[in-house]
Symmetry: C2
Subunit: 263 residues, 2 copies
């Protein structure tokens, strides 16, 4: 199955959607946060009646595991440019994600353009480090996405972290599945944590909150992605993502706040 099929939602009326958390999207036995949030975004998008997520925020309350789930949505505003929607992702016994988002039509946008940044310089995908799923490490999730890391940022995997809180690389879905604006919500949370490149005793960083701003519909092909962290303080860190399509257009920005578990 592909990304679209594995995040499908079925409208049941009154803003309620049934869904299924699928096998294979997990990291350390928990479904990837971007996978869960893109499922939520798909339901919110349907409820909004607009084609594109523009801003999506999710708070992660409990880990997700394969099985049936539902997304409960409420449209809180239908505006001229944007619709605002709240949602929760729930299983029979717990709430996994609480979300809010704004949805619109990114095919019609216009206005002044000023871009004060450039896509990250990356060697071609074939010269980057492919992240390959195994039964142990990397996790099964890496079998569902095709990540190629900048060689300078891939040292953490063999015990030689760069010391810089940065991960750059290419992203695409498997089997040539196109990346739409919902898949960008997956892409912003798909890369290994920047903190893996720090020389710190941090093995995992559960996401508290993730906000993705979708800035354009991607052209076909690879995404160029860069994730950076500037502040590891007080038991938290942020991770900022900037995603560009193959034509050099900014397609998404993200920030997540993550916890650094104690001990």
């Amino acid at each position: 199955m592909g990304f679209a099929a594995d995040t499908a939602v079925h409208a049941e009326g009154d803003g309620r959607y049934t869904a299924e958390i699928r096998n294979g999207w997990d990291i350390a036995s928990n479904a990837n946060g971007g996978y869960l949030l893109s499922m939520v975004a798909r339901a919110m998008r349907d409820a909004s009646g607009r084609p594109d997520p523009v801003s999506v925020t999710g708070h992660f309350l409990a880990p997700g595991h394969p099985g049936p789930a539902e997304v409960l949505t409420e449209v809180v505003k239908q505006g001229r440019t944007l619709a605002t929607v709240t949602a929760s992702l729930e299983t029979a016994d717990r709430r996994l994600v609480q979300a809010i988002g704004a949805f619109g039509d990114l095919s019609t946008s216009s206005g002044p353009e000023l871009v004060e940044a450039a896509p990250p310089a990356l060697p071609p995908p074939g010269e980057c480090v492919a992240v390959v799923a195994t039964d142990t490490f990397p996790p099964p999730f890496m079998g569902r996405v095709d990540l190629r890391l900048h060689p300078e940022d891939a040292g953490f995997a063999d015990g030689t972290p760069s010391g810089r809180l940065r991960v750059r690389g290419w992203f695409r879905l498997r089997d040539g599945e196109p990346i739409d604006t919902v898949a960008l919500v997956l892409a912003v949370d798909a890369f290994p944590p920047t903190v893996f490149n720090a020389r710190l005793p941090v093995a995992w960083t559960p996401t508290v909150e993730l906000t993705a701003h979708v800035r354009a519909r991607p052209s076909p092909g690879w995404l160029r992605c860069a994730f950076t962290t500037r502040f590891v303080t007080g038991g938290f860190l942020e991770e900022d993502g900037v995603l560009w399509d193959d034509t050099g257009t900014l397609v998404a920005q993200s920030r997540q706040l993550a916890l650094i578990p104690r001990g």
Copy 2:
């Protein structure tokens, strides 16, 4: 009245809080977004039973004007480290803000520290450009906060914008009122928009979404603040804020997505 009094909320039971949008916090006749969101955050914080906002996201649905309002909160998770709360700010006839946040205790945080950025270099407050409220421009809001802009970033006010999408400056509340972690939610939206320093025909930028991450309780004194925009594209722009206290500690990060009105 000061900030704390003008954002006071009164618990009415079942997660409902009554409040009053006060005069004087408006810009172009609409209450400042950070002012409204800090009122919401105050109610959410009370509902959470935790002392500090850690991450607060607000979507701005309709402009606020002086008068009675209420905040309807729901605690969706009481965790060990954080409580997650949703909320809406409503008046008799419309919903103004829809919010979600995580609340915790920033007095007890610990863990590894890595800071890959420095506070902005600013001349002393007395050598910066004070933003003074008048009946016309700057707006009344500027009478409630004490902003001192870096002279290089203050040219927009007299028609000589720097051309760089950046606004740096000092922030404090009036009359020596201390800045607590709720006031940081005000501070992240208090400065003139970065786009005022662009040579673009953009007079205002309504906020779609604002996320503030509070990283530490501020020490007494001025805050050092820097706001930057990297991407004006497709009818939207983001504005990123980094706020430091007087001892050089990072206290908050923010990002907002704003619309560039057409025409």
